[in-house]
Structure formats: C-alpha cells, structure tokens
Amino acid sequence: MITLILSNLSVNIQAIYPEIILSLTLVALVIFDLIFNKQKKFLPLISIIGLFFAFIFVIPEFGTSRSAFPTSENNSLLSIDSFSAFFKGLIIIASVFVVLFSMSSNEIKSCPDRQGEYYSLMFGMIIGMFFLVSANDLILIYLSIELLSLSSYVLAGFVKTSIRNSEASLKYIIYGSTSSGIMLFGISILYGITGSTNLFEINSVLGFSNVPQITFLISILMIFTGIGFKISIVPFHFWTPDIYEGAPLPITAFLSVASKAAGFAVLIRFIEITFAESLSKSGFWQLIPYVNWQNLLVLFSIITMTFGNFAALWQDNLKRLLAYSSIAHAGYLMLGVAVLSDQGLTAVLIYFSIYLFMNLGAFFIVMLIANKINSENIDDYRGLGYSIPFLSTSLAIFLVSLTGLPPTAGFIGKLYIFFALVDAKMIVVAIIALLNTVVALYYYIRVLKVMFLERTDKHVEIEISPLNFVIILALLAPTLIFGVYFTPLVNIAKNSIQLLGF
C-alpha cells in the first residue's frame, strides 16, 4: 500500500504551494462568511485574490519537472511539470471568469445568505482539479475526482428552491457515484493484478511480466469509465445535457471548461505514463500494446462528436444546445489525444486554451440574456440582433468560433488537430471530423439566423454594466486575436507538453 516518506517534508510542501494557497483561501472564505455575515460582496474579491496568488506560484512550475510526496525511492504521488502547470493555469483563468460570472448571475444572487458556501465549494472543486492534473497515483486520482465531484454535486443544486436545480443535482449524484464506484472497482482490480497503484510502477510491471489480458482490459475500461464521466464522452455522457441545463449557468460553464480540462489532463497522464513502452520517445508515443489505445480513442471520439453534433441539431434550449456542443468538442479534443503523438498533444493544449475563451464567452452571454428574459429558448432570441446588438454580435463571434470558421480562434484550434491527424496519416478520421463540423455549422448558425434574420415586435433592453462589458471584451479579444496571431499560443503549448518522466 502507499507509505508516504515524510523526510524532506518542507521540500515537498514547497511543491504544492498553489494548492496550499487555494486551501487557505477556502478556509478564509468560510471564516469570513461566518464572522462578517453581511459583507457578502467581499467574497468574490477574496476568491480572486486567492486565485491570483495561486497563479503566481504556478508560473515558476513551467519548465520544471520534479516529483513530490515520494511513496518509495523512485515514485511519488505528484508530478510537478510543465504539463500540469499549463492545465493549472487554464483552470485558474477559467475560475476567475466563473467567479466574475457568478457576481452577475441572477440565479446565484437569489441565495444571498449562502454565498460563502458557494465560493468555498467552488474552491473545493478547484483544489480537486489541481491535484487531479498532477496526480501520479490511482488513489490520489480517485480522491481528487471525488473531491471535485462532491463539490460540484452540491453546486449543481445550489439554488434549492429551483426544482430544475435540485433534479440536476440528484441525477448528478446518482450518476456520479455509480461511475466513481465503477472506477474504484477498476482500480482495485488493477491493484490486484500489478500490486501497485502508482502509474510508474504499473508501467514497469507491465513492461516485465505478463498480466492476464481480459482482467486487465476490464480494469482499464472501468477506470476509463470514471474519467470518461468527467470529460463527458459518449457513452458516459448521459448526465451532461440534464445537468448542464439544470445547474446554475456559472457552474455549467465551469463544468464545461475547467472540470473537463482536468479530466483530459488526467486521461493523458494515465495513458502516457502507464503505457509508455520505454521512457524515451520520438514524436509518436510508443505504447505497450496491451490495449489498442488508438482504436479505442478514435472510436470514442468519433462516436462522441457525431452523437454530440447530431443530438444538438434538435435542441431548442440554448443551454442544452451548448451542452451537446461541449460533448462534440470533447470528441474533437479526444481526436488530438488519439493521435498519440507530441503534435497531437500540442494540438489538444492549443484547442483547450481557445475552447476556454469561446465556450465561457458563449455561456456568459447566454446568462446575461437569461438574466433579463428568463429564458434560454432559441425562439425567444428572435430579433435580439437588433435590440441588443453588442451582446448578439459577441455571441455570434463566439458561436462562429465554436463552429471553427476563420478568422476566429476556433478555426486555429481545429486546424492544428487536423494537422496532427493528417501527419499521422489518419485521413479517414480527419474527413469524418470535417463532416461533423459541417453538421455543427447548422445548429450554431441557426442561432445567428434567429437573432439577426428574424424580426420581432418585442423590444428587449439590457443594460451592460462596465464590469460585464470588460469581461466580454476580455473573452472576445483572445477569440479574435488568436484567430489571426497565434504563434505565441502555439509556442506556449509546444513548451508545455513535457510530462515528468519523459
């Protein structure tokens, strides 16, 4: 079992400064909420300050490659490397935006006395994700997923008075606990076969001795189920539309970006470290052929994007449409992983950075509009292009970017995925993905058509506060700039694919 080696504790503690700061912020939020019961408006501020300091300590992690909390001479619980730092950065950026979203969300504001709870639970999620992206050990992976999930179950049902919220929360918890049960079962089988929960150790066991094929496959598929639940790939996605539609919008946005990022990070680390043939590699990864990862991932990604896109065709609720679209995007991202090469991984990181801005942007504008008209139905968006031109135009830009048309950043994200596919000679898969984009075009453009081409007598007026204006611009700017000038983003992504052990 795991025995922590506690010598050099201070060095190890230093390695998790960001996580410690986040935990302190969580505590600070709870205490502040208890003492200054009336001063709710400082809570977001405290959250942002905490995130800011965590970010400052994440920056030096770029370019480093070290382990923390050793469990034996060679192995440890955590890897602190560029790869995890990149995802931590993404998570922090997404969290800052979500905190800002929450400040103007009517749903969240409807529970004024439980604000402290809200923000501290959010930090619970963030801490879970932070450990998840650098975890090396199945037990830690499981624990972080649980931490992340438990907090998000509560947040999904945060507005208790809303039936929609409560239903979402209940479904989420049932579904989530079943998947994590399956995952835990898988982990225990894997432990039974290999005698270890550490990914590096499992890797060396797989390299030296034969393991029973079928049992091994069962355990891997079960673990995959748990991770697949987090990143909502088909067929483990069933919770996604219901929960995305039911949960408060900031939480939906958070789940669709940050939690998915963490899920992808752990999936990539799990595959790359557990199955790497030898710990040196060319551009294409050499994996131990116990499981045909390429076929498995390609199969999943094609099913996922096809399902997501086709199901989105029929949605009338914009939030639900975005839920399906985020399933489809998980499919595209999965394709980048399925290439099993450094180039594919770079493409995934690029795609994620862009996806963060455009997806948050779309959700934010849907939230601002829903705040006013109390509806997310596409029919109610009729003619909005004329009454609220700024919001509608911004939404249009985000949707065009989600479709992946130039000159928006979404195009660049897809372009790099396709480059990676073509380089790996996976032409057929690339064509299927391309056709999927065509399907996606239909439902995204449908929203634009309703907003700009259809007229209505109803006149909606939405006052945009200066803060919200700045938030929208902050999301628009990268969506447009990365569509034209993307070299720095590509360079950052290229430098961030370094995992510990490689």
């Binding site: 496959l217 069933f238 219901d242 498995l296 086709f310 065709l313 070299t487």
Partner: protein, 692 residues
Amino acid sequence: MTETGIINISLAILFLPLLGFIVTLLLGKKIKSIYLFEVFILTVTLFAAIFVAFIKLSYYVDDRIIAEIQWFKLSETISIKLGFLIDNMTVIMLFVVALISALVHYFSIAYMKDDPRYNRYFAYLGIFTFSMNGIVLTNNILMMYIFWELVGLSSYLLIGFWFEKKSASDAGKKAFIVNRVGDIGMFAGILILFLTYNTFSFESIFHSIAAGKLPFNSDFWLTMTGILLFMGAIGKSAQFPLHVWLPDAMEGPTPVSALIHAATMVAAGVYLTIRIFGLLTADAMMFIAIIGMLSAFIPATIALTQNDIKKVLAYSTVSQLGYMVMALGIGAYKFTFFHLVAHAFFKACLFLGSGSVIYAMHHEQDIRNMGGLRKKLPLTYATFLIATLAISGIPLTSGFHSKDGILASSFAFGSLTGNWIFAIVGFLVALMTAFYMFRLVIITFHGQPRDQHKYEHAKESPFVMVMPLIVLAGLSIFIFYTPNPLNADEGWFISKWLPAPVLSAPNNTRFDFMQETAGAVTHNPSHGTITYSESYTEAMHGAHNPAMILALVLALSGMLLAYIFYQWKKINVDKLTQAIKPLYTFSLNKWYFDELYDKTFVAGTIGFSKLIGWFDAKIVDGIINGAGNLTRLLSVFTGAFDRIVIDGIVNFAAYLSGFIGLIFRRIQTGKVQTYLILVIFSIIILLFLFND
C-alpha cells in the same frame, strides 16, 4: 533611451490613434464630447513623435533600427513577419504625419462644429492617422500593402463624409475605383517579389538582388517589378494618367483635404517609391521620371484657369507630387524627400488657409466672389502668403531649397545624359506655379470685394483654426532645414539626416552616373552598394548656381505676371483669354480627361458589358436554346431520375441526419436508471470489441 525604447514608443505612436478611433466610434453616439478624447490622443501621439524624432536624430542618427516578429510560418523556410524599420526618414515622416494630423484635429474642432456626425468624423481621422503611421513604419511590402489599403479606405470614408451629397459620394467612389487600378499593378509587383525571394522584407529583398538573384532571372522583369510597384504610387499619389480622382476628392471636408489629399496620404506614393528606390533600374527610373514630368506639367496648366479655390490647390498638389516623382526618377533622392516634407507643411497650410477663408465666407469656394479679404482675415492672409512664397520657391523659404535642389538635379541629369526635357519642364512648371499661386492670392485677398454681402459678414477664424496656420507657416521657413538661406546642401536636413540611397539593382542596369565603377564612394560597406559617382557630384556643383538663378528669375517673373494681370490690371485678362480661347477652354476643362475617360474607359466598360450581354442573350442563349430543345426529351428522363434518385438521396441525407439526431435525443430520457444501464451495457460491448 535604448533602441528598444524607440521601438516601443513607435508602437505607441502607431496604435494610439487606433485606440482613439475605436473609443470615439463606439462611444460616439452616447457621449457628445468624446471627440476630445481623440484630440487628446493625437496630442499625445504628437509629443511621442517629437520625442522619438529628437532621440533618433540626436543619438542614433546613423542607425537603422529594425524590429521584427514572426506572424506565422508557411513552411520551415518561409515565415511571414511583421516589422518596423526606423531610420531618419521614418521618424521625420512620423513627425510630419503626427503634427499635421494633430493640427487638423484642432482646426476641425471649430470647422466641423455643427456637423451631425461630428464624433464619427474624428473617429475617421483617427483610423487614417493609424494607417498612415503604419505605412511610414513598416519594413516590409506586405504591411505596406495592408496599410496602403487602409488609408485608401479612410480616404474613401472621408471624401464621402457628406454622403447625402451625390457629388461627394460619387467622388468617394471615383477615388476608390481609380486607386484600385494602380493597386492591381502594385499587388502584381508584390506577388513577383514574394515568388522570387520568399520574403516581403525590403532589406532581405535588396540583399538578394545585390547578390544577383533577379525575378525570372532577367533584368527586364526587375524593371517590370519596379514599374508595377510604382503603379501603386501612380494611383495613390494621383499621377498621370490616374490623377483624375484627386481634384474630385475636394468634395470632402477641407481639413481632410489638407491632411489626406495634400500633405500625407498622397505623399505615400512618393514614400513607397523612395522605399523601393534600391531595386529600380535605369529603365524603371526613366518611366517614373516621364510619368512625374507629365503629372507636373499637365495639372499646372489646368491650375492656371480654375476658379474654385480648392481646385486650384488640388491641381497644384498633383503638379507638386509630379515634381517629386520626376525628381526621384532622375535620381534626386534626397531632394525628393526634402520636397515631400516641405510641401507637406506649406500645402497643409494653404489648404487649411483656404478652409479658413471658406469658413469665413460661409462655404463660398469660388474665388470670383471673393476679393479684398486681406483686411478681414489678416492672419489667414499672412500665413497663406508665406506658404505661397514657399511653394513658388522664393528665397528664405523651405520651398526655395527643395525646388532648387530638384531643378539643379534636373540640370545635372541633362548635362550627364543629354536629356534636357526634364529640366525644361521643371523650370516651366516653376514659372506656372508662381503665376497661378499669386493669381489665387491676388484674386482672393487683394483688390475690392466682389460679393459685398458675404464680405461684410466675414471675420477672422477662431484661435483653434488660426494657430495651426501659424505653426505650418512657421515650418515653411528655411531655418528648420538649413542654416544657410541660399544653399541647403550643407544643412542638417540634407547632409546629416538623409543618408545616400543604397542601390541594389545590377550595375549594368543603372544610369551611367550611378554605377559603382565610376569612382563611387562606398557609404555603407555592409550593404556593399552606393549610388552616385563623382561626375554626378561635379555636375550637381556646376548646376547649382545657374539653376538657382534661373529658378529665381522664373519664379519672380511668374509673380510679376500675376501682378500685372490681376493686381495692376495692365493687361486685360478677358481679352487675352478671348485671344487664346481654345487653349483657355482646354485648360478650364482640365484637358477633358474626365470626358475622355467617360467616353473610353467608362463607356468602354459599359459597352463591353453590353456586348457580352448581347452575346449572351443572342448567341449563347441561341445555342443553349437549340441544345435545350434537343435535350428536353432526354431531360424528361434525367429529370425523373434527378427527382427520384438524386433528390431522394439528398433529402434522405438531410432526413437521415435529422432522424439520427432524433434517435440520439430519444436516448436522453431523463431517467437516471436508463442512463446507468446504458453505461454498463456499453462497457460490456467495449469489452467484446477490444478483447482480442
């Protein structure tokens, strides 16, 4: 201040006006006084430009500062870069653009006061300044082209600013379309350069040419590339035969005419040609010189008879730009740039002065209704007079030096190559310029008022309008360019700030006096090439004094003639025009260029399209109808096939997509139990699939 500092400030100079544009445009409808933000931004830009020019000219006077970033990569060897080239010319131009732009902003505060689209006007000025700075700063032909089109756009927006007037919107369209003709050539030139050298950077292109790499490996294509690129300048600098758009562009607000259509944008063509000077062969230069000569001469003859104050200035602008282009063609590289800067100041002053007159006369532009305004508008008159002296080339002004340099060069060129035509036209134009400019001054400001009513209501313009005039008139005095009132060669502008041009065109394609073998002095060893031989320097020395005296005599006699005709009325002008009636009407009607183009190009295009339409309707349709009848029978069958099979497939695909979507949607029952069963079920299926 380091070089990085200079680059950073230049970045700020470039982007500040863009910020002004965005803010002013977005908030223009909400906040009435947002134009003040734009004015403020331009003031900041001006100070930044002065600062950069000061630093560069005092501490880095011999350096060429280049900063590049990679935009994107096409392949391992080809990457597209964006970048700045900051040499002395760049900072001087930045200063000229920022100064005139700022002054025009101030001037417009009063001039445009009652306009309903006040804020939008200032926003447009902002984007123009941004684009112009881009042209000035770029180190590559691609960015040049991008900003080139952007100034074209802002010029279009501002010419047609009062788009309710048909003449204004027509003039905007005309400017835009005529410019396209030139830009096609420029675009072709850029493509040739990129295909040959895989880069857009001036520096790298010159290096490759100097190393012997030519487009399609022939001298001819190098000449052609130069001429094609110069076509862009023909359009933008309103050179013959594309000069017709500039006089019409006077439909825009007068401050805009001063900024864009006199001082800066139209000079961009000359600036481009200066930037590509290194790759021009003798043949290309000869072509440029001839175009410039025609553009200097023809509009000067037209300006003699025009009666609209702005039209006179417009034709004079074309003529002076032609002067610069001609000067560049005959190798007077430094004096071209000198004249460009000097002209920018005095012509902006003249245009703003005319704006002041028009403002005082309640939008009267016909000089036949003016007269005697000297007493009513003393400051406007004084500054207008100084600028007129400058453009006529009277000593103690900047124009005297710059023109003198160009004329001396044409003299030297004549003595070295035997081509005296440029010198003759140059002097003739100098005579005409002095004449028509003083005609304008005398009719407008001297004598008796002709429209008593308007005269009585005229009064001097407010301070924000007069102050720019004073600044610009001040900058038309020689002391800013050289300490010696009679010879500018030793002054800092020519001898210190402007380095000799670097030629990279192969030796055998250059003018004889520009060849390296003819005792050349190498100025820039890293580049390895230099331009002017000793014989040229000698010829210039010899030409200087005669040219100066002759130019002065001609300018003074032009002045004198104007006084005899219009001030003292010794000769009856009406009788004279009767005597040379055909010539007079020919000039008054601008050599019938517009009519000619209407009859040929416009009518030709329309006629051609009609011909094609007729061909389409009669011949093609006839064939098609015949074939149609034949195939109709067949089409019944194919139609059925189409309807049933093809449409069926298409509809089926759409239907299938929808159907798949529906099924997928059905799976989402909303019941957690179903979901979980499906999950377990899929794990089992996967197990079977991947267990081999």
